[in-house]
Symmetry: C2
Subunit: 483 residues, 2 copies
């Protein structure tokens, strides 16, 4: 179709057959056209592909996958392409076609009595939130990329975000799935049921499967009552241990009304104040750590201010808290949350960080931070500690920033060694090297390094059973053939 | 060992090797000794087995399974043997050995900062509840058999109960698993993490797998704050449609504090009053349907009475509710819940029921009940409608009671036909023929009848990949070989 598309191992006959399915407006071939589908939005990865397919229906996806299965053409499924571990981009050898769900954008049904919404995989997360809100419901998944990420990708990566503490991650929000399996057949598991024990819960394999077992084309998602009362607090604490103790105290006092509980290190506040315009320190005194906390309920607006104030007062008396502010308006609450949202930018402004998306049991957070800080400092004197994250889930974005006297290249070259130091500590504290971003290609080698043989064999057995020709996102998550 | 054990296809050499692993106090052979492991506690099923093994550790389970794998000896894993679908008893052909987790009873750890408890598979559910309560926490799974069912069985059947509406079913309560796989290897997935995206979530296959993919030996379970305020209400409504509307009203008013919302048909109240001593009608007037509702929170004792009363008052004004009582004491609340607990006995006293454990989307409950009542009445004039269950989950125990002029034998003979009438309606309303009891052997034929080929193939592919010699609970859930 165009001379600027790359050389590829995909047979021309297969490419032609695929194009026929979606018609002339349903595919892209020129490198300049496919570029947004080949590039990662962070960390500068760029793959190559002979063909990006943009089907409009589950039936089209099924026909595409059947052609690929017959011709043994590998497929990279792609949603909004906002992933952080290179799970959604094609390999640089141009051996894979991309199937994007970007044109599958129908909200199929919203059932307020069942508290469910049924959507195509390509619906943008923000549109789901808005549709729910319009029906006086909450769809609680909320994350930085919500304006462009797609539901199918959120499910394939089992996305997390700031409200997991209360509502669970994407896995907890999915009641039913529709997917095209690696042989091209459509599996209709679009059930809107809260209880169904009629065999293996197959959707659980596709959730978090990162497109290696099939292509999700539709989903039934859970909705919740829309909270009518919300309060936000900015709380100074002495240490991660104090933050964990405060979480226990708050859970006992406020139960499920706690919808976010974010731990923030002073360093990242300094990076914000110095590097990102528009931020001010919420407190006059400087404190070593902070918690940003939301509570919400179905009560009258303002009705949580009293209970939250009482709980914070008791925490102050017990010495769990150094200082605390309850936002006096929605605008002030937004200003506090804007700090949380701009943390990636703050790190960049401070000189760049090496990111880790880790989790440990909540009870081990304090020890983990102390041990990992020490290990990094020993290996790299002058490295700047930076961490923030979802302490209620044991999930920290543990992102050391380069020493002031280093240049960016030198720091970048240490990435594998720094990853290994941090991840060794994660494993020592019974944690996970990827809490919410998945494995993709970025964490593949690390994952193989740490996972047990039993677990890898278990995963490979599933993969081989479901995708014997290894055509579904073959370079991601793990290598099916051992060794 | 004894002349009263049955003839079996299991080689004597394998039986001998298995006995060596557990030692002389670790197995049972005589029919009189194995009888409690072969018998279902409801519906009178009795299987046969040459050997019941009672290992004391995960390592012993592993060694047992390795011997069975090598000798191709089929295994029935068993917990507290309280299941309702014959999933835990051996086949009547005596071809299977039973591995019971009854002697694996250690609570390994309780971590209040992480809100987790780590237990052996054989720990009794009630002991988990009590250990949690002793640490000022709640383990919310609660069901009739809680005094004798085991955690491993609860996980293998993905048990439900009355608090699923708020806390989810067993699947939602499991953070990590340890299991012996069909080749005898131990999989250590005992992670106490709320976020872990490092490959397929393998535990999800074992949860609800009914012992067909491995033997669960240990688990990390989630704990919750122990509620400090609780209220119970008995509410009369006109119809299932009114109950569903009331649920929506209550969710908007009271959010996650609703921890149970049970729908009860008048008929079962009459059966209770007539057939089970100690019950009285909570209301003076007779109403067609009732809701039994619990709310709980972390507030001061009594603090929910006001919000609950306000919400019920508004519902009365809107015509959603005919009458309502809020229990004035813990004793009165217990008396109301005792009615719910005695419903199985009430059915029996009324002449016996044919039970169905079904779910449909909450929004379709009213239509489902009307259509299924009509279909049953047409086929069996005089059949007595009886249903109750977890309307918040769309899960009804839909148990028609025999016509007054029929004898028990005649009614029992109609079981398959009645099952088919009810389950046809379930499928017409996009529901599940087994909401919380699983498939076992009882629902096997029905499940094969209704499941799509794609879904059955998907399940079989997993089963064959994990258990190529089909030794794990081979007669349950589905037949691995198609046809």
């Amino acid at each position: 179709m165009t001379s600027t598309s790359p050389d590829t191992s995909v047979p021309a006959s297969a490419l032609d057959a695929l194009k026929v399915v979606v018609g002339p407006t349903g595919y892209l071939q020129a490198d300049s056209d496919t570029e947004p589908y080949r590039r990662s939005w962070r960390d500068g990865y760029m793959g190559r592909t002979p063909l990006v397919l943009r089907p409009k229906s589950t039936d089209e996806v099924s026909r595409l996958v059947k052609i690929c299965a017959d011709a043994r053409v590998p497929i990279v499924p792609q949603g909004g392409n906002t992933g952080l571990t290179f799970g959604g981009q094609p390999h640089e050898d141009a051996s894979e076609v991309v199937i994007s769900t970007a044109r599958m954008t129908t909200i199929r049904a919203l059932d307020t009595a069942n508290d469910t919404i049924t959507v195509d995989a390509g619906v943008i997360l923000k549109q789901v939130q808005e549709a729910a809100s319009g029906a006086n419901r909450l769809f609680p998944l909320s994350l930085g990329a919500e304006g462009s990420c797609q539901v199918g990708g959120n499910i394939s990566t089992n996305a997390g975000g700031v409200q997991v503490l209360r509502y669970g991650n994407m896995r907890s929000l999915v009641l039913g799935l529709e997917a095209v399996l690696p042989d091209g057949r459509i599996w209709n598991g679009l059930r809107g049921l809260r209880k169904d024990n009629t065999g293996y819960d197959l959707k659980q394999l596709l959730i978090g499967g990162e497109g290696t077992l099939g292509i999700i084309t539709g989903a039934v998602l859970r909705l919740f009552p829309k909270p009518t009362a919300t309060e936000t607090a900015w709380i100074a604490v002495e240490s991660p241990a104090a933050a964990v103790a405060l979480l226990g105290h708050m859970k006992a006092a406020l139960g499920e009304s706690i919808s976010a509980f974010e731990l923030i290190r002073r360093a990242i506040v300094d990076f914000l104040l110095q590097g990102v315009p528009g931020h001010t320190d919420p407190m006059t005194d400087v404190h070593p750590w902070y918690v940003l906390m939301d509570v919400s309920s179905q009560g009258a607006p303002g009705s949580l201010a009293g209970p939250l104030g009482d709980a914070l007062g008791a925490a102050l008396e017990q010495g769990l808290v150094l200082d605390a502010i309850i936002a006096s308006s929605g605008a002030q609450a937004q200003k506090l949350w804007k700090m949380r949202e701009d943390m990636a930018e703050a790190q960049k402004a401070a000189g760049g960080a090496i990111s880790h998306d880790i989790s440990v049991p909540v009870s081990k957070i304090a020890e983990f931070v102390a041990a990992t800080d020490a290990a990094l400092e020993k290996a790299y004197p002058g490295i700047r500690h930076c961490s923030f994250g979802h302490v209620g889930d044991g999930n920290l974005h543990f992102n050391p920033v380069r020493p002031l006297n280093w240049d960016a290249e030198r720091f970048k070259a240490e990435r594998p060694a720094i990853n290994r130091i941090v991840h060794d500590q994660v494993m020592a504290f019974d944690g996970s090297i990827s809490a919410e971003h998945g494995i993709g290609r970025m964490r593949l080698a690390e994952n193989l390094h740490y996972k047990s043989d039993v677990e890898l064999d278990f995963m490979r057995a599933i993969k081989v059973a479901m995708d014997p020709h290894n055509i579904m996102n073959p370079h991601k998550v793990f290598m099916p053939a051992k060794g």
